[in-house]
């Protein structure tokens, strides 16, 4: 430790802790915090997946006892006396599957884990702007997850009003009997939201203030640009969710009626609350947050895909500036499209028209990005490694998810397909097909840097192929189900005559979903095995150009021995400067041919 005075924030870092507690539990190191997020989020992914498997069972085999688990857990959790899933249990499953996946898996993974790990490395800094706040963000997320998880074990179970928690169902029904489960879930969401706001704030200050010399905005990796825009949404949209949740909690616990209209009856009795509220109010405030939330769910994964596609095409991303402008447009437009979730809510039809227009507009920047990804691949020297396979699938499935989105944007169409399986198909294509595949890409790509080992390539390719196959088999038919009018959040479709012909599809989807779930065991095994026993990785196995690949494995606590001086953009592949090789790191000397004793292309410092 030097005793010279520290003159710049960029030189400051917390030294390597000596004891286990400060090294792995309460750590200020963004790399450790990132891994904490990663392990926790992957665990919740298993939970969310299990919930989905249970709910798929009920859809395919209505009221049939769930094999093995059903009889074992009868009368507990979601199960009835015979081990089948009860109607309320089904709603609980659907609700919690959504909440767990959105708040405790995807956002913590793509922002908390990868954002945390990569941002300082990509901009050339030693850590984030506020390391203490960073640690706090994780230690708000974990208790939030535990609170949410504990709701399964209380009387009357967890939340069961859909992840969107529309009142009066989420409200008055709970106000007359104190359903502790939903209150616990709301408390968990509140904490998770706070964690998200603080995290986003941290990343914004880091990216604005702590970039290494020469790391101009136009040289940032697209991963970082995406995290930057995402962080804006996190800081400014999430508080609306907190406020809505607080009002809902007040309604449930203090007996207020922000969302309960006068004269509402629950069953045959008048609701206990005083009335005077509006259910529509919840929808506006909730979706004002929840629409930007879906951009939080997709933008970071777009960032990963862009940088990964460039690295494995040995070409810069096509149209870097257009990509940045698209991200910025999504940031601006993302705040004015929320009403497209409310086309059938009875809101002002003129507003409905305005939201339709803005929603159709926001498709444009996404479309630009898709064409630019294709343009990146076009004419590239393609290396079909696992990260690339996942990234290419990301693009194709984002296209499918985006196309279904266009239909939903048109309110006349949406009035018909709202609350059907069409919507479910859409968001699973973008959140699973696109984002989760991008997570797999990012994991296999950055695993060597994070853990100093390689994941098994053959196992990754097998996982990729089977996941791609079963994912499409499971979710593509849902478009047809939706068009046929199959409603969502429906525990038993057998009560509706017009849905009976669709029952074989439900079974087919369920079987594909089970296969999809089983396939993920391959990834789990690969990940866990490789952390401990994987083949040792070289510093830069992918010959990639961004700054994280210029430092050795394992990454030291201070990241860079000397802070890099950045001289070139993030995708310095196959340009004349790179000869005789095909790439250069971002901090390579400006004119390698002229620099005295220039290091050969690709040497790390």
């Amino acid at each position: 430790m030097s005793t010279a005075p520290i003159t710049r924030v960029a030189d400051f870092y917390h030294p390597e802790p000596a004891d286990f507690f400060h090294k792995y539990v309460w750590s200020y190191d963004h790399k450790v915090i990132a891994k904490q997020y990663m392990w926790t989020a992957f665990t919740f992914l298993i939970l969310g997946g299990v919930l989905a498997m249970l709910l798929r069972w009920q859809i395919a085999y209505p009221n049939a006892p769930v094999p093995i688990i059903g009889p074992l857990l009868h009368d507990a959790f979601f199960f009835g006396a015979d081990g089948s899933i009860t109607p309320n249990g089904y709603l609980e499953l659907a609700t919690m599957h959504g909440l767990v996946m959105v708040f405790f898996v995807i956002i913590p993974l793509i922002v908390g884990a990868f954002g945390n790990y990569l941002i300082p490395l990509h901009i050339g800094s030693r850590d984030v702007a506020f390391p203490l706040l960073n640690a706090l963000s994780y230690w708000l997320y974990l208790p939030a997850g535990l609170l949410m998880f504990s709701s399964f074990f209380v009387d009357k179970g967890a939340a069961a009003a859909g992840w969107t928690a529309y009142p009066p169902l989420s409200d008055a029904a709970g106000a007359s009997e104190p359903m502790l489960g939903m209150n616990l879930v709301l408390a968990g969401i509140f904490l998770a939201g706070f964690s998200s706001i603080l995290g986003g704030l941290n990343f914004l200050v880091t990216i604005v203030k702590l970039r290494a010399p020469g790391m101009t905005w136009s040289r940032l990796p697209l991963t970082t640009w995406a995290q930057f825009i995402t962080a804006v949404f996190q800081v400014l949209a999430t508080p609306m969710l907190a406020a809505a949740g607080a009002m809902l909690l007040f309604d449930r616990i203090a007996g207020t009626s922000f969302f309960i209209p006068t004269g509402l009856t629950v069953g045959s009795d008048l609701a206990a609350n005083s009335g005077g509220g509006f259910p529509l109010l919840w929808q506006h405030i909730f979706w004002f947050y929840a629409h930007p939330a879906v951009y939080i769910l997709i933008l970071p994964s777009m960032g990963f895909a862009s940088d990964i596609l460039a690295a494995f095409s040995r070409k810069p991303v096509f149209g870097y500036r257009a990509m940045v402008i698209s991200l910025a447009s999504i940031m601006g437009l993302g705040f004015v499209v929320w009403g497209h979730h409310m086309f059938v809510s009875g809101m002002n039809p003129v507003m409905g028209m305005a939201f339709m227009v803005s929603t159709v507009f926001i498709a444009l920047p996404s479309g630009v990005k898709v064409f630019n990804w294709l343009g990146t691949l076009w004419g590239g020297s393609i290396r079909l490694k696992p990260p690339m396979l996942y990234a290419i699938s990301f693009v194709s499935m984002f296209i499918v998810g985006g196309l279904s989105g266009i239909f939903m944007a048109a309110s006349p169409v949406d009035i018909y397909i709202h609350d059907t399986y069409y919507i479910i198909a859409h968001f699973h294509y973008v959140v699973f097909g696109a984002t989760l595949f991008s997570v797999f890409a990012a994991t296999t790509y950055w695993f060597p840097k994070m853990f100093g080992r390689m994941m098994n390539e053959k196992l990754s390719i097998l996982h990729w192929g089977l996941t791609f196959l079963f994912f499409n088999l499971a979710f593509f038919p849902m478009h047809f189900l939706g068009e046929a009018g199959h409603m969502r959040r429906l525990a038993t479709s057998t009560g509706y005559e017009f849905l009976n012909p669709l029952a074989p599809w439900n079974e087919f989807i369920t079987l594909s979903a089970f296969a999809l779930g089983m396939t993920q065991l391959l990834f789990m095994y690969n990940f866990i095995y490789s952390v401990f026993k994987g083949e040792k990785a070289p510093d830069n196995p992918w010959e990639a150009s961004t700054l994280e690949w210029t430092i050795p494995n394992p990454v030291p606590v201070y990241n860079f021995k000397e802070l890099p001086i950045v001289t070139r953009g993030p995708h310095e592949y196959s340009s004349p400067d790179t000869l005789p090789g095909d790439w250069l790191p971002q901090n390579a000397p400006a004119r390698p041919a002229d620099a005295p004793g220039a290091a050969p292309a690709g040497a790390s410092h």
Binding site: L236, L280, H284, F335, V336, M347, N348, M351
Partner: protein
């Protein structure tokens, strides 16, 4: 960029304080008056009072933000953050109002219909 210069005079703080006190007296006083009638806009109900109260509050807020919170010396990014947040606030208010003023006409019409005994 940084406002950590030690040579700031304290006078602006006292001036703003006095202004804020005065404006508070003003806004309370206005609440006892029918501003609409005083301005010759009778029939506007509470609207004029609401606008007047809002204007005074905005003036007070601007003084606090500009002088007490040193926005007069702050760097661009911090001004942008505040501006963007206020823009989003405005957007949210406008959208909510657009929906609820419209909804309100239906709610009131329905209530009127009920009262009329239909």
């Amino acid at each position: 960029m940084s406002t950590s210069t030690a040579s700031h005079s304290l006078k602006p703080y006292f001036l703003v304080f006095s202004a804020l006190l005065g404006l508070t007296v003003l806004t309370v006083a206005l609440s006892y008056v029918d501003v609409g009638r005083a301005l010759g806009l009778s029939g506007s109900g509470r609207a004029a009072n609401i606008v007047a109260g809002l204007v005074v509050a905005l003036i007070k807020a601007s003084l606090v933000v500009w002088i007490f919170m040193h926005q007069d010396h702050e760097e661009g990014i911090n001004r942008f953050i505040l501006g963007f947040s206020v823009a989003l606030l405005t957007l949210a208010f406008l959208a909510l109002s657009a929906d609820f003023l419209w909804l309100g006409t239906y709610v009131k019409a329905a209530a009127g219909a009920l009262v009329a005994g239909r």
